[in-house]
């Protein structure tokens, strides 16, 4: 291409000053080029410097961030971070931004329409009545139905997908030549993500602007961008046409990324084969444990093959109605039945609001069902009281989504894992310490982390601690509520492998709640697809993936980014 690039970064260095006034580099020598009309994706894990690079371009680095070296050229002219006037002229009118989190990026106090109008007025596109009219057109263009009414509403009256559409309308309001899309859909459900990205693709074709797409999802990047830039530890380790990188990754990091990205890995048959082996081994181990128990204790009786049986579970929440004395019934979970076979994994899949977490809380006996029963080893869990209930809690342990929130920040790792042992009065100090060492070893953490606090560990390490804590009481069932959703792809792959290994070793049964169908194939044997509180499809994992019966399941499968990309296996 001989034309002048729209955006060019030459050896860009960005640093953040720490408390000791020392510059910590976040981006170290990034160079990339975006031509007019081109879509370029920057891919990398959190902390790789991809968002920092994007914010440096429009001089919106947070806090103490500073460009410490290199050049940023827009249409051949350098952007200098000190030159406020010319940067102000570029923002909005030449370079638009679609930010990451639709929940926090709209001012909650202003109507959506007036926030878009602001962009029009500030960039001198339109004023007054004409601007109001334009706002409605822009919202329609972004794919928001009933735009005229919506423009007068506040952000809290919008769903996440609608807000992201409003933010796209805002980013495109002044018809910029370059749109920086910073993880535009990572906070949204897969089906909504697909709709929004499809729409953005259409707009790119229509209006001809260039896109700098920032994402952690390699599959998504490969599907949407012509050109990929892979960032790792503040450096660009590889760049080139998307398909070429996927087919023939050169850098070891890219190789790992290509082989582990769940959206891509889920297509591989090898993962299904590996899973089948894990299951066989786990079921065998579980069987051994059960027969041992039966030998040891005559009263134990027949232990059923299904460790959890849920029948006709329904949960109705009462919501405040229009009048103070009225209430509206909200059916969160509607007549759900399933069985969890010993030593296997059942995945519950659905979008946010489908009732999957409510289901998990009822199974854990943390929330009483409105009707229906949960049987654990053939015993109705609601009939258990006192000591027996405590015993049940031992056998069923949860691992939650957010490893940052589920560990007490004031407890050391040792104390966090020791707490369930203390609660259930297991062992003395020495035995507990030995047990904790053993657990940390099982989840592949060095025993040196025992004295540390959660803040001193990475996200993946914390989730390992949470798993170790769940395993401390030797449970039969572990309920993972979005246990890997908050983690980077490579870490996610590690945790999934760990869960698989532990299952094979200990004969655990998992109830695995997730919104991400891509990880299901790597961990699950049976799948329950939920929509609006109801189970729409329940089948084995191979059946769901290869021969989905319901339109909704097919829609979910289609929405996995990168599904259409042919892979070098």
């Amino acid at each position: 291409m001989s034309e002048t690039p729209l955006l060019e970064l030459r050896d860009l260095h960005v640093g953040f000053r720490n408390e000791k006034k020392k510059m910590i580099p976040a981006v170290a020598g990034a160079s990339l080029t975006v031509y007019p009309g081109q879509t370029v994706a920057i891919v990398g894990e959190s902390g790789s410097g991809k968002s920092t690079t994007a914010h440096a371009i429009i001089d919106l680095l947070p806090g103490t961030g500073k460009v410490t070296g290199g050049e940023i050229l827009f249409e051949g002219k350098p952007i200098k971070s000190g030159d406020r006037k010319s940067i102000l002229a570029l923002r909005g009118s030449s370079i638009g931004l679609v930010p990451q989190d639709p929940m926090s990026n709209l001012n909650p106090l202003w109507r959506v329409g007036s926030q878009i109008k602001e962009a029009l007025v500030a960039n001198g596109v339109a004023k007054g009545k004409a601007a109001d009219q334009r706002v409605v057109e822009l919202l329609e263009e972004a794919g928001l139905p009933d735009a005229e009414r919506r423009a007068r509403q506040y952000p809290h009256e919008f769903s996440g997908g609608m807000r992201q559409r409003a933010l796209i309308a805002m980013g495109l309001a002044a018809r910029p030549k370059l749109l920086i899309a910073d993880e535009p859909t990572s906070a949204l459900d897969v089906t909504v993500q697909k709709q929004i990205l499809d729409h953005l693709d259409k707009l790119t074709d229509q209006l001809g602007f260039a896109v700098l797409l920032i994402t952690h999802d390699l599959g998504l990047a490969a599907e949407r961008a012509d050109h990929l830039v892979v960032m790792y530890h503040g450096q660009i380790v590889e760049s080139g046409p998307a398909r070429e990188i996927l087919r023939d990754p050169a850098h070891p990091y890219t190789k790992r990324l290509v082989s582990k990205a769940p959206s891509l890995a889920s297509q591989r048959l090898s993962s299904a084969k590996a899973r089948a082996e894990v299951r066989e081994q786990a079921m065998q181990t579980a069987g051994e444990i059960v027969s041992e128990l039966q030998d040891a204790d005559e009263h134990f009786g027949e232990v059923p093959n299904d460790v959890i049986v849920a029948e006709n579970l329904t949960k109705i929440f009462k919501l405040r109605g229009a009048k103070p004395w009225q209430s509206v019934d909200f059916v969160a979970v509607d007549d759900v039945s399933f069985r969890l076979r010993r030593g296997t994994t059942t995945a519950v899949v659905g979008e946010s609001g489908s009732g999957k977490s409510t289901l998990a809380r009822m199974v854990l006996d943390l929330l009483p069902p409105t009707s229906g029963t949960v049987k654990f080893d053939g015993v109705d869990i609601r009939s258990l009281k006192g000591k027996e209930q405590l015993q049940l809690r031992r056998q069923m342990q949860p691992v939650f989504q957010n490893p940052y929130a589920s560990l007490d920040p004031l407890y050391t790792i040792y104390e966090s894992i020791a707490e369930p042992l203390r609660t259930h009065d297991i062992g003395d100090g020495k035995q507990r310490e030995a047990r904790i060492r053993e657990l940390l070893e099982k989840v592949s953490l060095p025993t040196s982390v025992m004295k540390r606090f959660p803040a001193e560990l990475s996200g993946g390490q914390r989730q390992r601690v949470a798993i170790a804590r769940a395993l401390a009481l030797e449970p039969e069932v572990v309920i993972c509520d979005e246990a890997v959703s908050a983690l980077d792809v490579l870490v996610q792959a590690q945790i999934l492998e760990l869960l698989n290994d532990l299952q094979a070793e200990l004969g655990l049964s998992y109830l695995f709640i997730t919104h991400d169908l891509a990880v299901v194939r790597q961990i699950a044997d049976d799948v329950l697809v939920m929509q609006n509180g109801k189970v729409v499809e329940a089948a084995s994992v191979s059946k769901v993936f290869d021969d989905p019966q319901e339109a909704y399941t097919r829609k979910l499968l289609d929405a996995i980014p990168g599904a259409g990309i042919e892979m070098a296996v």
């Binding site: 923002r91 909005g92 931004l97 926090s104 990026n105 709209l106 001012n107 926030q115 962009a119 980013g171």
Partner: protein
């Protein structure tokens, strides 16, 4: 909305019952006989004393006396104090000056607190911010009666800029110095609250988005930082109006303002139980209504909040 207001107003009934009962009990437990005090140095005739005690229901038990007081509230007839002056007249004379004083203090602390706090928040950790930090620390650390006497001496006596005392014929200009003294502690709170709130909002995601839209720095601050930051400040100021009126006792004492604080102080000394409890009842009403007003204002400022 109307249901919500009605519910809140209904909630004031137990609050008033409880507050008056407690205050009534405290005044009742106070040692000394107020009627005996009326006779001064002269010997008290038992017959006259009994007649007066009967007139004010002092011969009844404590609980019945409280019920008589409640009857007075609901029939809008608070009766006379032990000196024969109508309590309602005393309240009518005292409240306007205290309300004026409190509102002047409110305006003073709101304007200076918000303006200085915003500047400090926008330039966090700069020299202005550090100066304000030290200044507010001083304001919070020095007791109000010290500030009051120092200001009175300095601005009133030495410089002659303001009236030393207010006295019976009060005017707004005479109240300026007492209002400043009354508002100074809350000024420090308001300033700090505004500063923190502004600094926090500056790094909010939606502010970055506003900048990315191409808005000028001035517009960003005005439309996206200030309004969001002022919500907690409004709550603080609104709830404080009641506090300003109640807290006026010391300031009114120093500057001899003929307001509610003085009235309450005098009545407590003389054991005028009905007057004390009447003053408290009005104060409780002011408190409850102000917090209701603040809650309603909150819904106006923040569209996410709707009362049903």
């Amino acid at each position: 909305m109307w249901w919500y207001i009605g519910k809140r107003l209904l909630q004031t009934i137990p609050v008033i019952l409880g507050a008056t009962f407690i205050i009534w009990a405290l005044v009742f437990l106070r040692p000394g006989d107020p009627i005996l005090g009326l006779f001064g140095d002269k010997p008290a005739s038992p017959a006259v004393k009994a007649a007066i005690e009967h007139q004010y229901h002092l011969d009844e038990n404590f609980f019945v006396q409280w019920l008589y007081f409640l009857k007075g509230i609901f029939t809008f007839d608070l009766g006379d104090d032990f000196r024969g002056q109508a309590i309602s007249t005393q309240l009518q004379n005292a409240f306007p000056v205290t309300v004026t004083l409190a509102l002047m203090a409110l305006v003073f602390e709101a304007i200076f607190g918000v303006v200085l706090g915003t500047i400090a928040g926008l330039r966090r950790n700069g020299w202005f911010d550090s100066t304000m930090l030290v200044a507010t620390l001083i304001m919070l650390a020095i007791p109000i009666f010290v500030i009051g006497f120092v200001f009175q001496l300095f601005f009133g006596v030495k410089l002659g800029w303001a009236a030393v005392t207010v006295g019976g014929d009060w005017t707004v200009s005479k109240l300026i110095l007492p209002a400043v003294v009354l508002g100074i502690v809350d000024l420090a709170y308001t300033l700090r609250l505004t500063r923190t709130s502004v600094a926090e909002n500056l790094s909010a995601d939606h502010v970055r988005t506003a900048r990315a839209k191409g808005l000028s720095p001035g517009l960003v601050v005005r439309n996206h930082v200030l309004r969001n930051s002022l919500i907690p400040v409004t709550t603080h100021l609104g709830v404080n109006v009641g506090g300003l009126m109640a807290g006026a006792v010391i300031t009114e004492g120093i500057f001899n303002v003929p307001g509610v604080g003085n009235l309450a102080f005098r009545s407590i000394q003389q054991g005028q139980s009905t007057t004390v409890v009447s003053v408290v009842t009005v104060m409780v009403l002011v408190y409850v209504l102000m917090s209701l007003l603040v809650d309603l204002l909150y819904a106006v400022l923040d569209p996410r909040i709707r009362y049903a």
